[in-house]
């Protein structure tokens, strides 16, 4: 049939692979289509470092299974049942875990409706035909053509129709399927198929499909079979499109017509929708048993934690029935946030930008972050503050039981928040509050790098105020932890100092005239900085003693003291250097002169070598 592309590198392999009768693709083709999340799910089960190897194995077995199905049953040995069972199980597990790729669905549809295997096998195959993201239209057309060949049993046909209805939304294009409208309409004759065919037609019908002869046919069927809800559904839809053609009165009450034939695939459909819609969240792990959540913590929408960008259409003023002309003219120029695609567009519309209905969604959009940085709207920031503090508090995994998925979600959330902070080059208040609230309970291990990064973005404030809230707890953790934690903390404190100096330096440049009574003098600010340096000095001295002068630790300590950050230069304040030098001297001449001994020893060592 169609020629197959061979011998291409993964980068050049086209996505729509042409399928031949004997289905053989190169392993690399599967790799291209495999989502990166697959490796993670396999990693969870089998925490082996070489998870790529596991990836290949999984694909391999699936490919073998598909090949087996393609070739048809082997009539030779009695062992075929076991092999068949093994391959079926393989396909089912992959389908329920991650869904099947469009090509796999293509193959399996042909197999299921082609009548090569028995009824039971076909049923099982159809039941597990869950797509990853979408189903290609061609496979559906081919499957329908198999129906005409009459190779499969009646019950398989029924199941196929049910499957089509359930997975209708995931078929990528429907133009060609619409061309088969007449075929589906003809299948209304079959009593067993009639309800499902009606449902399918209900989904498929467009205005041009409504023809008088079809209407007549439906009315005949209704006369023959009586008032069936599914026929009524189709008739009411026809009446909606072409009210002149139908004179029969239909019940206006909008009842529900169709049996829930999607019951088999409900959870699967939900999972596929999630996969399609939220690229930020983890792929959902499908289980055939409902997962038991902690009832208190069940999330209402199991989508990603950060809300989707929605224009705030609901918060417009309703009460005003009469609007003045100027209001009308200004109203419709509001640009909804979803249409904001580029920076120039933001600049043009900055005065008439409509705010999203949920402020949390700005975390994903760098343009909106720019916007909230410039616009000094307090309610906006309050909304963000409330949302972020509640979300961090609820999602925090060391407050409550943490499963693997929750940990990943929380880490992702923290990463997003940190990215936003880095982008804005300043910290959020909610994160500061979160750090204060959670550090007494923190074990030093959960989400360590993210938490420390959050700490480094804490906005500048008085050191003595922060000391009981943050630094005392941090010191406790510091002294009782490994050397790597100590080094990470020193790194964090260095970044914190840099950030503080950056803000102070900007402050100085902005300061010139106004001196509000609430602002303190530069001296007081520098006092706070000095106290921080002193605190770090105290930590380092004690740490060096605890770790018996480990050179690894010394590197981080000296990094804090020696590297002069550019912020210090812009401040042009030599007192910082003095303070640092002072602390360093304290260390050298500290009790027991350990530091000094080490310094001398290492200098001798360097001069000798």
């Amino acid at each position: 049939m169609l020629p197959q592309k061979r011998g291409e590198t993964p980068e050049t392999q086209s996505r729509t692979l042409q399928v031949k009768n004997t289905f053989q693709t190169s392993l690399s083709a599967w790799k291209v289509k495999q989502k990166p999340s697959d490796s993670k799910t396999i990693l969870k089960q089998n925490p082996v470092e070489a998870h790529e190897y596991m990836d290949v194995q999984a694909e391999d077995t699936l490919q073998i299974a598909l090949q087996y199905f393609e070739k048809g049953p082997i009539k030779t040995s009695s062992k075929k049942d076991k092999i068949l069972e093994k391959h079926l199980k393989m396909v089912e597990t992959v389908a329920w875990k991650n869904g099947l790729a469009p090509e796999a669905i293509d193959v399996l549809l042909n197999v299921a409706l082609g009548g090569k295997f028995g009824n039971a096998v076909n049923t099982r195959l159809l039941k597990c035909m869950i797509p990853t993201n979408l189903i290609s239209e061609d496979s559906v057309i081919k499957a329908v053509s198999w129906l005409c060949a009459g190779k499969c049993s009646g019950s398989t046909k029924v199941l196929f129709y049910q499957w089509l209805v359930a997975m209708f939304d995931f078929i990528d294009h429907k133009e060609q399927i619409n061309l088969l409208y007449g075929f589906f309409f003809a299948s209304l004759q079959d009593d067993a198929l009639c309800p499902y065919a009606c449902h399918l037609l209900y989904l498929l019908t467009k205005k041009e499909n409504v023809k008088p002869f079809r209407v007549r046919k439906l009315l005949d069927l209704q006369a023959k079979m009586g008032l069936q809800p599914h026929l009524q559904a189709l008739l009411s839809l026809y009446k909606f499109f072409a009210p002149t053609l139908i004179s029969v009165s239909l019940p206006m009450r909008k009842k529900v017509y169709f049996k829930n034939s999607k019951a088999l695939w409900n959870s699967a459909v939900l999972a596929v929708r999630l996969r399609n819609q939220s690229p930020f969240s983890e792929p959902l792990k499908l289980t055939l048993n409902p997962a038991n959540f902690n009832p208190l913590k069940r999330k209402w929408n199991s989508r990603s934690v950060i809300p989707v960008l929605n224009s705030g259409s609901c918060t417009k003023e309703w009460g005003k029935k009469e609007m003045s002309l100027s209001e009308c003219l200004s109203c419709d120029r509001l640009l909804p946030p979803e249409r904001l695609q580029s920076f120039p567009l933001l600049l043009q519309n900055i005065h008439c930008l409509e705010l999203p209905s949920q402020m949390g969604s700005v975390l994903h959009s760098s343009l909106l972050l720019h916007y909230i940085n410039c616009v000094r709207d307090e309610s906006l920031l309050l909304r963000l503050y409330h949302w972020l503090s509640q979300t961090l508090q609820e999602e925090c995994i060391w407050y409550n039981v943490n499963s693997y998925e929750q940990r990943k979600e929380f880490t992702n959330l923290l990463d997003t928040v940190i990215r936003a902070e880095c982008f804005l080059q300043e910290g959020f208040y909610s994160c500061e509050v979160f750090v204060y609230k959670s550090i007494p309970l923190w074990d030093g291990l959960c989400c360590r790098s993210q938490f420390l990064q959050l700490m480094s973005w804490i906005p500048f404030s008085s050191f003595s105020e922060m000391k009981p809230l943050l630094f005392d707890h941090l010191a406790q953790l510091f002294f009782t932890s490994t050397i790597y934690f100590k080094c990470s903390v020193l790194q964090t404190l260095k970044e914190l100092l840099q950030n503080w100096l950056l803000w102070l330096s900007v402050d100085i440049h902005k300061k010139p005239v106004m001196s509000s009574p609430l602002e303190t003098t530069l001296g007081a600010s520098m006092n706070s900085v000095a106290k921080l340096i002193h605190y770090v000095g105290w930590l380092s001295t004690a740490a060096m003693r605890l770790e018996s002068n480990s050179p690894f630790l010394l590197h981080f300590i000296l990094d804090f003291y020696e590297k002069e950050s550019p912020e210090e230069r812009t401040m042009n304040i030599s007192s910082i250097r003095e303070k640092k030098w002072h602390s360093y001297l304290e260390y050298l001449f500290s009790e027991g002169f350990h530091g000094l001994k080490f310094f001398i020893r290492s200098s001798i060592h360097h001069s000798v070598s």
């Binding site: 049996k259 929408n301 949920q358 940085n373 307090e378 309050l382 600010s525």
Partner: protein, 345 residues
């Protein structure tokens, strides 16, 4: 006099971008100050007032609030609602009905026979506030429309939820006028409906719901405070439930006391008139524990208090409450509002 008020330190303003605006008096800054205060000092005040029948409550028609009693409510805390207006309640009803109908019919045509004729009603609850400053409480109900319009107009109530704020001064100070502070949300009905309505509120008013759990510490406070309430006649016995997590099945201990005995015990412990202190609560609970220990040799203080039930109200640690006495409704809600505000801050 009060040792817990810190000196208000002026905030050093590092002025740039977001923070340029925040000089002292803005709500966000006040919020940060209050959080700092809260964390560095005691989390709960050492004394609280015994709930009395407040003046405002005298005006409340007992018939109107009777439907709030004797029902099990699930508790949630709620961040302030943005641009919520009491004049638009009809509009909100309409939008919420449409939203619920859309959610339930997602994906076209579901089971035959399920009735989707529901109506949502928003209404205000007059009198459910502590002080005049508190915002008005409002109620949301989902009713099923009856099939035949001739029959009873009001259909069956499927779900009820209400928002209130009792003595919420600490939160009210820290928000601007665009926000409506109703930190306590109580829901009764199917969880799926709560989820749908909660999602609509979150999308429309940019608020956050979070389930409000009641810790054992707060449950013992509730037990003490409600036992201290003067009652003419007692509707139910005073009961405590403890849970011991052990395998394979957890051990549940229930301890029932005659309400008059509990009141007598409380009166012997109670010293300061009109107020309940931490020491009194501890003493009250210790008496109960030691009595139990004497008979059964089990240290209840080592287990986890899960449920408290008195004639005034009963509360479960999962955040469920049932109020039995109309007289002390406001008092119970005041305590719950305090817990909700603590969680929101």
């Amino acid at each position: 006099m009060d040792p817990y008020t810190p000196e208000s330190t002026p905030r050093q303003s590092a002025t740039s971008g977001l923070k340029d605006y925040f000089l002292g008096a803005t709500p966000l800054q006040k919020r940060l100050e209050s959080v700092r205060k809260q964390i560095s000092t005691l989390p709960t005040p050492p004394r609280r007032k015994i709930p009395q029948c407040s003046q405002l409550q005298e005006d409340v028609d007992p018939q109107k609030v009777a439907f709030l009693l004797h029902k099990q409510w699930t508790l949630y805390s709620l961040t302030p609602l943005y641009k919520f207006s009491y004049t638009n309640l009809k509009e909100y009803s309409r939008l919420l009905s449409a939203f619920i109908a859309a959610e339930k019919q997602k994906g076209l045509a579901v089971e035959v026979g399920e009735d989707f004729n529901i109506k949502v009603i928003f209404s205000t609850l007059v009198g459910m506030k502590g002080t005049q400053r508190d915002p008005e409480a409002f109620l949301v109900q989902i009713l099923s429309k009856s099939q035949l319009p001739a029959q009873n107009r009001e259909g069956k109530v499927l779900w009820t939820g209400w928002f209130c704020c009792i003595f919420g001064d600490s939160l009210l100070e820290t928000v601007s006028e665009d926000f409506t502070c109703l930190p306590l949300f109580l829901a009764n009905g199917a969880e799926s409906n709560t989820a749908i309505i909660g999602t609509w509120f979150q999308k429309t008013f940019d608020c956050c719901f979070s389930p409000l759990a009641i810790s054992a510490f707060n449950l013992s406070w509730m037990a003490a405070m409600w036992t201290a309430c003067k009652m003419d006649h007692y509707l139910a016995t005073t009961e405590f439930f403890w849970s011991v997590p052990c395998s394979p099945q957890s051990l549940d201990i229930s301890y029932a006391i005659h309400p008059e005995d509990a009141k007598a015990l409380w009166d012997s412990v109670h010293k300061t008139p009109g107020e309940v202190t931490q020491e009194e609560v501890d003493l009250f609970m210790d008496c109960l524990y030691s009595h139990f220990h004497r008979h059964f040799k089990i240290h209840l203080s080592a287990t986890r208090l899960v449920r408290v039930s008195t004639s005034v109200a009963s509360a479960h640690t999962d955040g469920k409450i049932k109020i039995l006495c109309h007289k002390y409704l406001i008092g119970v809600l005041a305590y719950l509002t305090e817990l909700a505000i603590f969680q929101v801050e």
